[in-house]
Amino acid sequence: MTDDAGNLSIDFLAGFTIFMIALIYVATLIPGLFIGLQSRTIDYDAVAYRTGVILAEDPGMPENPAWETLTDDNKADVLRFGLAMSKDTPNILSPQKVDRFFCSTWTSDDYRSRVIFGDYPYTYNISLKVDGEPAIRSAGDVKPDGYGYIRRVVKVKGTSNATIDNEKVSKYNYISHDNVTNDVFSIHINCTELLHNETIKNPIYQINPLKDQIRINITDMEKRGNKTLNPVTELTDITIYRTKPILSNPFPPLVPIRTFDSPYVDSDSVPVSNLPVVVNNNITMIFPPGFFSDFADDTTHLYVFLNFTHMTPDFTQSTPEDLYLNNTWKEGNTWNVSKSFEYDYNPANVTQPELKDGVLEVAVW
């Protein structure tokens, strides 16, 4: 008689096999459920990488109007931060976007919801060092010992500026030989030429008066005038004139469109609050990014007019002065601006914008 101890029925074996296969299948799914939590280092590195890509390669949302132009009152409209000049120029950062991004008015939640993303409330430190800038810009908390990390090599677009000194005044003969009580000096910003130049087509090298800061310095003014009557010269006003030449009307009249009331005068560290103001040696006009965009486009010609009035030393009446700064005069009812100083791509006139090296670090933990 056969002993049946230690035997297994085929029914049990079939059932047990099906059970084991199902168990193995379910067990293999379990690591996938925890894939986001299996290693904190991997997860943090990935978040830092994603944040670095968004900052270095994306211009942000919305694009029009650009997110960096939105005020704190409208910051809810900012959907995503991004520092790149455009999608076509990765790693080339816009100085306006950088300034706005590192603005202290953003909260931790703003950064989390607009650049770091994710459901987990990550802590972060984002820092940018640009060659030639003394301070390192940063946002976020102090880094702990362990964190996810990415480093991006970038360039930041520089700003242009023009200095009209004694050399340029002599070179372009910006001296009036009329004995007059008012002198007018003008600077021509030709948006069409600047934005549609045949040589400088890449936006990262362009002077864009609609988006970039424009800085104009007028120096060596103590050398102007013959000072026979020892006059005091006041900068009466700074007015922006606009004109839009078209094919059928290449010389339309200039129209005053806006005033600018806050130049820096005589190397003062703060701008004046209103005009007129007495000028002895120098004037610096810093037009902030977007200043011209409200009333100009890529077909506009802009003229910045500086009006000077010469007064007697006791300010009681105006007095004529010869050999003062002047390149603009009236002919009938129209302004002759043919000798205006050109803010253009000539490096002899304007210091051209150059790209500055920088390094961007993102740490997430």
């Binding site: 035997n7 085929i10 193995i24 293999t28 290693s39 990488y49 790209l355 390094v359």
Partner: protein, 169 residues
Amino acid sequence: MVDDNGQLYTIEGVAAGMIMLMTAYLVLGATSVYTPGDTHISDMQLEQLGTDALRMMNTPVNGTTESTLQEIVENDDANAFNTQFLNFVNSKTGTERDNLHYNATITYYHSDVINNIHTTASLPLASNRNLTGGEHPVRVTEWVIADKQFPGSVNHPRAVLVEVLLWRD
């Protein structure tokens, strides 16, 4: 009498076999998730850094000049490459610096019309340490348009590939 057809003997052997199979399956399945991800992240950081550095070296500072990398290739200036590349890859926002090593070459298309041989050839560009075989370098590249004559062709300007092996100790 009980028929023993359709019976399996030694239940302990079957159960142990099943448990071993299941354990091996779980272990293999689990490790295949962890290992590639971990390696990929550190490689990716170096690749990103090297790619960024070469791209920025190949971006002129203004609209009228050549890029630094273009000048380096045209003048075969190893010192300038060493200084600029290490400055880019080692810079951090804080005061401390990274310590990366690299080996850079230029690869170009070599066309020998007389012997009808058309192939690619490489020239060493610069390095700050030799590869010994124990390193785990990543490879990053950048195409450069260089106005320079390379062996095997009289045509220029031409595109050459700057290849950099980049590693950390």
